[in-house]
Structure formats: structure tokens, C-alpha cells
Symmetry: C2
Subunit: 167 residues, 2 copies
DNA sequence: GTATTATGATCACTATACTGATTAATAATT
DNA sequence: AATTATTAATCAGTATAGTGATCATAATAC
């Protein structure tokens, strides 16, 4: 910046080097990688109008057939409120159908529509292209090890998550 | 669920097995790991009232001395709007000071307050405990390799990020 | 058969993470 | 000097990711 710059006047900050360490911490790196993964997904899947979360949730509904929001949230590791909003978005686009279960009227019964299934099939190549781009900085063997580590970190810490996977 | 369950009637869903594959994709795993990393940070650093982002941003301000919001956003890889909100939150807690630069009146000059520096020092052990817990499912050698992979994925794809790191 | 408990969904609220439009100030061009 | 372009910040809007409170319904206890 300029003349009224404290930086120049104070010499060394209180915790010299501490910030550099933070940028090499797993928490910070995971945030950056997740941020990048979303960016790449949005680029590759632009035409579909789907976000990563919408794609995963729609796939889960397609794969599992009719299920309630709570179970769906567990399958994709999302809290009750967020999965509710994702379902609302998918519903307004006609990709899933939502109705109150007549059996137990507390439940929202979610099903995948033909339009939802068609979009899933259509966007699938772009999703796979995105995944390949995310891993591109690593060699093939490293990619496999990296995925293995991610799976173990996710599974090993699942109980510590605020929205654990409930398969 | 129950009797009016479409699942039982339809047999196999359209894309059998596709969802299982998605749960092993880097995009999904990175989201889950980031989600878990935030959960663990919030548990360990509960007393500080700091979120992961607030901690990283505050550290960056401390380390770099006075700087503007745009540069701060670049250092922590955040877009202009999000870094603005983080700074507002830190400002209301008195952890940073924000004033218009007299030199160039477009800039917000951000500085770390003594209270901010004190909190950083206080919370540091909890932050490191959180990082250790995130990596716990991996052996020491694997942790080092995992961090190396995360750094290469983040750096190699930096240009594809919607809010790239600008060191 | 009523009271208690448990559960699914929704609402209000906070924080993260962006885009596009706008505003204010500076820099570059002519 | 006046016009144009650029830049920092902010605002409105959308999506992700949660918490705690509330409401309706269902299951259980007594």
C-alpha cells in the first residue's frame, strides 16, 4: 500500500512465520481443495444447472428409490435443514417429487422423476471429467493413494462430524 | 419405510451402483473431509468463539501487518464479499481495526489489535490439537504424504479456483 | 386411554462461499 | 482538463452447512 502503512513501521509481526504454518495445515488445505473441487465441478457441469450437492442428493434418491429426507441426509452426510433446501430446489426443477407419506405423516417421501434420471445420465460424463481434473496434479498411483487417504480420514472421523454419514 | 413404498415396487433403480461410485469420488470425499475438519475445529476451539475462517484471516492480518481487504482475501483464498464479512465479524469483536486509508480512500486498512494477538496466542494449542485429530486415522508417514498431496492439488489447480490464492 | 417421549420436518438465525451490479475513488488516455 | 478505464468495497441474491426452537405425528409407558 502506502505511507500510512503500519507494516513498514513495525518490522516483525507478533507471530512471525505462524501464518505460513497455517497454510500447510490440513484444515486450511482441505478447505482450499474443496473450494477448488466445487469450482471445477461448476465449470464442467455448467449446462446442467446442478451444484455438487444437488447432483449427489439426486443420485442418492435415484439409487435408493423412495426415501424420507432424514435418511437422504444421512446417505449424503447433510444436516436436516440443508438437505431440506436441496430437495426443495430439486423439486422446483421437477427432478424429484415430494409428498407426505400416507403411512407415517411425519415423513416426506422423496422420489426421482424421469426428468431427474435423464439429467443424471446426461451430466454424468461432465461429472467424471471434473473428478479427473481435480486429481490432475497427481500421478495415477498418487491419485489412488490420495483417494484412499481421503476415505480413511472421512470414515475414521465420521463420528466427529456434525452431520455424520448414516448408510 | 412402509407400504406405499415405491422402492419395493420398482426393483432396481435406473443407475444401479452409480451412487456408491459417487461416494468414492474426490469431490464428495473432499467435501466430507472439509466438513469434518470444521466440526473438529469447532469442538477444540469452542471457548475462543473463532471459526476456522476467522482464525486464518486473523492470523494473516497479524502476520502481514496492515493490509487491505482485497489483499487479505488473496492471502487466504477468499472472494471479496466473504472476506468482507469475516473482517466485519472480527471488527465487532475488537480483534481487528478497520479504517479508510487516507492515502487511497478506496482501501480499508485492516490491522490486528492487541486483543486479536492475545486471542491468537491463546487458541493456538487448540488449533494444533484439531489438526492432529483430523489426521489421526493416518499413520505418521501417511499424514506427511497426505499433506503433500493436498498441497499439490491446491497449488496445481489454483488457477481454476473461483477465489485463487494470491500470495 | 391419557401422559410422556421420540422423531421428521420446518423456521429463524449464523456463518461460509460465491456472482453480478453498483458506487466511490484513483489511474490512464487523449 | 475531461473522458475513459480500473480498482476496492459494498449490496442484493443464491447456495452450502450448520444450531436451537417449535410443531405435528407417532410410539411408548403407565
Amino acid at each position: 500500500m502506502n505511507a500510512d502503512d503500519v507494516h513498514a513501521a513495525e518490522g516483525q509481526p507478533a507471530q512471525a512465520g505462524a501464518f505460513a504454518e497455517i497454510t500447510e495445515m490440513p484444515g486450511h488445505l482441505l478447505r482450499r481443495c474443496q473450494q477448488i473441487a466445487v469450482s471445477i465441478f461448476m465449470q464442467e457441469c455448467e449446462g446442467s444447472g446442478l451444484t455438487p450437492l444437488q447432483y449427489v442428493a439426486l443420485s442418492a434418491v435415484d439409487h435408493h428409490g423412495e426415501l424420507d429426507q432424514n435418511r437422504l441426509g444421512g446417505l449424503v452426510a447433510l444436516d436436516r435443514t440443508t438437505i431440506g433446501k436441496v430437495v426443495t430446489k430439486l423439486e422446483t426443477r421437477g427432478l424429484v417429487a415430494r409428498r407426505r407419506s400416507t403411512d407415517d405423516r411425519r415423513f416426506n417421501a422423496i422420489t426421482c422423476t424421469p426428468a431427474g434420471r435423464a439429467l443424471l445420465a446426461e451430466v454424468r460424463p461432465a461429472v467424471e471429467a471434473a473428478q479427473a481434473r481435480i486429481l490432475e496434479p497427481l500421478a495415477a498411483e498418487e491419485q489412488a493413494r490420495f483417494l484412499g487417504y481421503l476415505m480413511r480420514v472421512a470414515e475414521g472421523n465420521n463420528a466427529h462430524s456434525r452431520a455424520p454419514l448414516r448408510g
